[in-house]
């Protein structure tokens, strides 16, 4: 937490504005103490003079020094802005958390009220309140504070609603924790960051608004003065002494911008959690380190790609800049997919399955970096960048994601969204494309496709949305479908339907399929061949029918034995893989699985085993491939079998 804030301060903008904010605050504290007397000293000999060595910004109608007055005014300006901000935040918090505290019905009323208030322009509200509360500092504070409250209330409402629907709040309710306590313990701490950021932004806004009100004569009154008031007085004499208006104006600008930009940079800094302010690692750096590790990859890179391959990937690497050096979630993956083949990819969360798929589809975004010795799709080299192959990728490679809801635009009809693909990539007219969309929806067995095409994504059930997503993929004539956990969000019967659908598309058009899943049983049933990934590498590449009994790698065998099926022995515990997955920012030397492997020895911990063929169509990366394993009958942990 503290580290994340430090990171904000390490960005140039964050640092500058942070220092500036601190300087303004210090100034506001010390200026009246140090220069209060000089700012109030009346000098009747020097009335309304211009800048001089004695008075840098000239003097006002009573001969008081404008430069010092501008410095001293920082106290009142800041004080009032802060009080107004606090008022706005407090009222906003009360209104924003009301729905949680007072129950549903009353809460709805409050929400409606806030929504109406938000619709009014803030300045208008401020002017309205300024008139209601009368001219003067108090009135202006109330005006600016209350004018800021609705938008803050709305923000709080949104944030609270987001947190309140999370399971840990439900869990607290089930535990019998009261509403106020839930608010204080669970909700507020979890929305504090955005609140603080927005309060900082609001403070900047309040500072400017206050200057505005005082300038209009609605704010601070004589003999007190803030920047707005000074500006008001200075404008009157602008032709005599421009500095009289310029000095307080500049002060307002600097302070206001400092708060605003600091808020912005904090918002930006905290929003980005993974990358931070570390410079992006230079591309050739990654290449060099990549090539250094595997000499063989460059050696056979010259081999012409056989024409029966849809996808040919060699030594694919994905890296991201991290706080302590590059993170390498995918570390040299080599595989190929033949026409019409179904390839499964399994492995635990974070093993790099999705990133491998995204890299192939050219969907890794900056600052991520993809590097490969070969990346051929239908004989074309994809390494030239996505732009060169947008057409090919758009029509011939289809991606299906786990959560189809986020893949569709919620505000547009399904038919139109599908049609767009064909308009863009196949040059169809809108009408043709719509007809094709309906036809494709029918092909993926969405019932009543004509009607469904006119509906919005939320009107589709999860399974149907997933089918529509596949339908979108087959708008063109794909030769490869990459499906990343396409059924994980679905329940079993629907999952089966979606898998059947993928299967039938494959059969009809000889389409190749890459099916990513963490469920070994699903992959085993659907695919011809399975890649097992661990810590960004392929540790085993085997025919699917070998999963049951033929797997050689200890990790693959544990994965298979960890899932119960309808024949699992009820007397035995399920297999357990002890320990934690490898952190891609901190990959150990030697075999990455060694820390969790019952067969690991010193050689494993020192030297990373290469993926090598061992017969039966299996390739495996393990020094002790296929050696016997036992199962601890108490804990389910795999162990080295006692050899005789």
């Amino acid at each position: 937490m503290a580290r994340r804030w430090m990171r904000v301060l390490r960005t140039p903008l964050g640092l500058t504005t942070g220092v500036l904010v601190a300087a303004v605050v210090v100034l506001a504290i010390v200026a009246p103490i140090l220069w209060g007397d000089r700012a109030d000293a009346v000098d009747t000999d020097n009335i309304l003079t211009g800048p001089s060595a004695e008075h840098w910004a000239g003097t006002d109608g009573l001969g008081r020094d404008i430069f010092f007055r501008s410095l001293v005014a920082s106290r009142l300006s800041l004080e009032l802005a802060l009080v107004a901000t606090v008022l706005g935040v407090v009222v906003g918090l009360l209104l924003g958390t009301a729905p949680l505290l007072v129950g549903r019905r009353l809460g709805r009323l409050v929400t409606a009220g806030v929504n109406i208030a938000v619709a009014f322009p803030g300045l208008l509200l401020a002017l309205f309140f300024a008139v209601v509360f009368g001219v003067g500092a108090t009135g202006a504070v109330l005006a600016i504070g209350l004018a800021g409250a609705p938008s803050f209330a709305r923000l709080v409402q949104t944030l609270v609603a987001g947190v309140a629907s999370l399971d840990y709040v439900s869990a607290a309710r089930v535990a019998g924790v009261g509403r106020v306590r839930i608010l204080l313990r669970h909700v507020l701490p979890n929305i504090a960051e955005p609140l603080v950021v927005n309060a900082t932004l609001a403070a900047g806004g309040a500072l400017l608004a206050f200057a505005g009100l005082s300038f209009l004569g609605l704010g601070v009154q004589q003999p007190s003065y803030d920047w707005g008031r000074l500006l008001f007085e200075g404008i009157g004499t602008i032709y005599v002494n421009p500095m009289a208006a310029f000095a307080p104006g500049l002060a307002v600008l600097i302070a206001g911008l400092a708060f605003n930009l600091f808020g912005e940079s904090v918002a930006k800094g905290l929003g980005v959690t993974t990358v931070g302010g570390v410079p992006v690692l230079p591309a050739n750096d990654a290449k060099r380190s990549g090539a250094g590790e595997d000499e063989h990859s460059t050696a056979d890179a010259a081999r012409p790609s056989p024409s029966d391959l849809v996808l040919d990937v060699q030594d694919l690497r994905v890296s991201f800049p991290g706080a302590d050096g590059p993170i390498r979630p995918v570390r040299g993956v080599t595989f190929s997919v033949r026409h019409g083949e179904a390839l499964g990819v399994v492995g635990e969360s974070g093993s790099g399955k999705s990133l491998t798929a995204l890299a192939v589809a050219q969907l890794i975004e900056e600052p991520g970096h993809v590097d490969a010795a070969r990346l051929d799709f239908r004989g074309e080299d994809l390494r030239e960048g996505p732009r060169a192959h947008r057409h090919l990728l758009g029509t011939s490679m289809a991606m299906v994601f786990q959560d189809p809801m986020t893949s569709f635009n919620p505000t547009r009809r399904m038919g139109g969204q599908l049609a767009e693909v064909a308009v863009h990539h196949q040059g169809m007219t809108r009408k043709q494309a719509l007809a094709r969309a309906v036809d494709r929806l029918r092909a993926v067995r969405v019932p009543d496709p004509e009607k469904r095409a006119t509906q919005y994504p939320h009107e589709f059930s999860g399974g149907m949305r997933q089918r529509a997503m596949i339908g979108m993929g087959v708008m063109g004539n794909p030769s490869l479908i990459i499906a990343d956990e396409p059924t994980t969000a679905l329940d079993v019967t629907v999952q089966q339907q979606v898998l059947d659908l993928l299967q039938s598309i494959r059969d009809e058009d000889d389409v190749a399929l890459v099916l990513i899943s963490h469920d070994v049983t699903v992959v085993g049933e659907v695919c011809d061949r399975v890649l097992v990934m661990y810590a960004g590498r392929i540790v085993e590449d085997l025919p699917a029918d070998q999963l049951d009994g033929g797997a050689r790698h200890p990790y693959t065998r544990a994965l298979v034995a960890a899932v119960p099926d309808m024949h699992t022995d009820l007397e035995q515990p399920l297999a357990v893989v002890p320990g934690r997955p490898v952190d891609p920012a901190d990959v150990p030397v030697g075999c990455a699985f060694a820390a969790r492997c019952p067969l690991a020895d010193d050689h494993c911990r020192a030297v990373d085993p290469p993926l090598a063929p061992v017969g039966d169509g299996i390739s495996v990366a393990c020094w002790h491939a296929g050696e016997p394993l036992g199962l601890d009958e108490e804990t389910g942990e795999l162990m080295e079998a006692e050899t005789v």
């Binding site: 869990a171 535990a175 019998g176 024949h567 357990v576 893989v577």
Partner: protein
């Protein structure tokens, strides 16, 4: 050991003009000290039924009884605890594991006693007691789900409702959590309503199973009967959809690991 009984429970959502019945007259008993599996497609009302039991969903009609008495839905003592599906959202990211676990503890004991209890619960779910001071961000999915189980146990529940507690987990850790559920049930004699869409998982942990379809229970009975000789069409469909059930499974998958020992 306690018995949880749903007696003709109906839960409705939506407005009075457009009501939507999520749970429709469900009667179901979780016998004392038994694990009852509840299966059915998503949207069939499994989670709603669970949430109604712990007071997170409004009961329209019917009764939810614990040992014959209505389940208390107010106050600090909650004999019914729930474990949620997603271990990444069910623990407050800003509270330490220890604080989260201590939350449902009944009021009374001193700080030191609570701390000891937290440690005991952590070892019960096979987590290192020093984890009490860690924030959830440092834990893996499986570890979090164990912590969530420990939190549920901290409320000294008579019945635990587990809603899809393994479906958000990686297969490699699913096994560990299922082992733990079986172990806790055996050692503490807990009654558990175990919701899952995976029949193989239910078969592994439960003694009874109830099949829910469109808000109603269409079939229930001992696992050995329902899964071997299903009577309702939907149950048959579910059974056919279990992954790996299609190609006749000759070999026992666990045998891969065990065969050679």
């Amino acid at each position: 050991m306690s018995e949880l009984r749903f007696d003709d429970v109906t839960v409705r959502y939506g407005t009075a003009r457009r009501p939507f019945t999520a749970v429709d007259g469900v009667s179901l008993t979780v016998p004392a000290g038994q694990v009852v599996g509840l299966v059915g497609e998503s949207g069939s009302g499994k989670s709603t039924l669970a949430r109604a039991a712990v007071g997170l969903a409004p009961v329209h009609s019917g009764q939810i009884l614990l040992d014959g008495e209505p389940v208390p839905r107010r106050g600090r003592v909650r004999p019914l605890q729930m474990v949620f599906q997603d271990p990444f959202s069910s623990l407050d990211p800003r509270m330490t594991i220890g604080e989260s676990i201590a939350e449902p503890m009944p009021p009374g004991p001193s700080r030191a006693e609570r701390k000891r209890e937290v440690q005991r619960l952590l070892s019960l779910v096979h987590l290192d007691p020093v984890m009490a001071g860690a924030l959830p961000g440092r834990l893996s999915g499986g570890q979090r789900q164990r912590a969530a189980l420990a939190r549920a146990l901290a409320g000294q529940p008579k019945v635990v409702i587990a809603d899809e507690i393994t479906s958000a987990l990686d297969v490699s850790i699913q096994g560990a959590v299922l082992n733990l559920v079986r172990e806790l049930q055996r050692e503490l004699g807990l009654s558990i309503l175990f919701i899952s869409h995976n029949l193989a998982v239910v078969r592994y942990v439960a003694s009874h199973v109830a099949v829910m379809y469109q808000g109603q229970i269409v079939e229930q009975g001992p696992v050995s009967e329902v899964l071997v000789a299903p009577r309702h069409d939907y149950t048959r469909e579910l059974l056919a959809a279990v992954p790996g059930s299609r190609p006749s499974p000759q070999a026992h998958p666990a045998a891969t690991a065990r065969s050679s020992s």
